[in-house]
Symmetry: C2
Subunit: 341 residues, 2 copies
């Protein structure tokens, strides 16, 4: 049987009350006694029964998710995953609030973050726009001992506790290698399509992509990045224009959202133009396009995993518990038409 507080008390030769004071860092214990108890805890290998503790505490975790508004499927999916999590709230002792802010809007994000100051919040998860003001606002929350997790896109040099998202440099590198090898030594131009260089995930994907292209596929030339702001309509017109103006384009890497527009533009020039296309985020649209051959590979991050992981990490951090790093690593999914879920 697993040891309990009673066993510690017996082992340390103190009372239950004292053990409780040590375990919950309450005042009123002499240093020597505290050390005696801590030694006993280590000796007999006590681990707190979190379930029992939460039961006794009647603990609930009020969590806040700050997600961008926006018409694209990925953010839609993300919001829907957070919503799903609210439905499981009862079972998990969480109380999740969703705050929506306009995409790429630094001051709105900062306002949302600052609005949480002083509120009863056990953790905050946000899709970060990578700006100094946001970093400062996050750091303010952290200094108030509120667990903060960045979701999908990370924040440079901030003190956030955790990042629940993929390694975007690796994602960009992977996209480059896939595109490069699929093109099999051909020569031509490549178009890169991004949402906004304001978010770190997009910058990093481009960085990884460019690096591998330069190192290993010198025959492929990168054209200037098109910024579609994750908006389908804008994306569509940018791509159409680029394709009609440059007949040497043989490949496209779309590293942001809004792929509905890209796919529409591609369909408009098919089957005359033969293009190898790698995009991010598996949605209804990209899935269909992958199956019908309009695109060749989809890189994906599982929003459901990211949300669940963020919740686990916020709870663990709030309790001062360690997280199982391996379990919280968000993986880059590569989908070809054969391994769709």
């Amino acid at each position: 049987m697993r040891p309990t507080v009673h066993d510690i008390a017996a082992a340390a030769g103190v009372s239950l009350a004292t053990v409780d004071r040590v375990l919950n860092q309450r005042p009123g214990v002499r240093l020597v006694t505290r050390e005696k108890v801590e030694e006993a805890i280590r000796q007999i290998g006590y681990i707190r029964d979190v379930a029992a503790a939460n039961l006794a505490k009647g603990r609930v975790y009020p969590l806040v998710f700050i997600v961008p508004t926006g018409d694209n499927s990925f953010m839609h999916g993300l919001r829907s995953e957070v919503h799903h999590a609210t439905l499981r709230a009862g079972m998990e002792r969480t109380d999740i609030r969703i705050v929506e802010v306009p995409a790429f809007d630094v001051s709105a994000l900062v306002a949302a973050l600052d609005g949480l100051q002083g509120q009863d919040v056990a953790g905050v998860a946000l899709v970060a726009t990578d700006a100094p003001e946001v970093r400062a606002a996050v750091d303010r929350l952290v200094s108030e001992r509120i667990p903060v997790v960045t979701l999908v896109s990370d924040l440079t040099d901030s003190t956030r506790h955790h990042y629940a998202g993929i390694d975007n440099i690796a994602a960009g590198r992977t996209a480059a290698r896939l595109l490069g090898r699929f093109l099999g030594g051909r020569e031509g131009d490549l178009t890169v399509l991004a949402g906004s260089m304001l978010v770190r995930d997009h910058r990093e994907r481009l960085q990884g992509f460019s690096a591998v292209m330069a190192e290993e596929f010198p025959k492929l030339r990168l054209l200037p990045v098109l910024e579609g702001r994750d908006d389908p309509e804008r994306t569509r017109s940018l791509v159409s224009k680029a394709l009609s103006e440059n007949k040497d384009i043989i490949g496209i890497y779309s590293l942001g959202a809004g792929n509905r527009g890209l796919i529409a533009a591609l369909k408009a020039v098919r089957p005359e133009r033969e293009l190898t296309v790698v995009v991010h985020e598996l949605t209804q649209h990209t899935r269909t396009a992958l199956v019908d051959g309009t695109i060749d590979a989809v890189l994906n991050q599982d929003a459901g995993h990211e949300v669940r992981s963020a919740i686990r990490v916020m709870k663990a951090t709030a309790d001062g518990q360690a997280v199982i790093a391996d379990q919280e690593r968000i993986r880059l999914d590569i989908f070809l038409k054969d391994n769709l879920p």
Copy 2:
């Protein structure tokens, strides 16, 4: 606040004891009363607090993992993941026992399964060898109301509750497309290397691989399958022989374990022979080979996820609870040298 048994009692106008009898299907409740209580439960949306219930019950889940012995890294890793799970046993109220049986040995597996009959076991996870005798033994356990989960390799037509592993047909198809596209329209022979056609996962991978090759890459010819029995030394000699006898081999798909031997054979013919190679299972050896360019892609299943998922499913099944299908789907990881974890 979440409703409790007290709330049901009040709502249904009965006593706590009666609610308890209904909830835990104990006898001594008239049908009308039972229905009244069940209605109240639905009305106020009661959900049992599993943590509190387990606490009260002092429940522990004695689980058994049956895994093959064998020298290869994958099974090593799997056993080590199960072992890790035993370390978390205290926190998760599990009591995990590991039973090792010789690989591909049907009667040993059956004996191990039958040995569990009548024992106090809350769940069994096994790496199945796909034979009728094994299926029968599994069905015997299932009919004794013991949750059974197949791990890594599934069992045809059995009544097992769950399969914690990847879709191997999809894996084979994915390997074929990667290999086919990486070879970029070239013509030549392909060698397929398997462990044993006795296990369903290997058969299915081959099936998926052959299908896509036939459909989409007619210029690539499949040579007869080499069976390495997941043994590094045997694999090495098979591959060396094949490569020296046939100079038209331009690609290799290794769908089993024992890749240490394959890699050794490849290094022996490099850099003269240019080969595109896709293998299964990320291990220390395949990782190194991927980085140094000896192999081009690794398909992987995360043994840690599989083990953790199997545990969750066995517990949930033992409690008659539903599993979150989406969370338990084991994904096929595709690793290129750029997205290694």
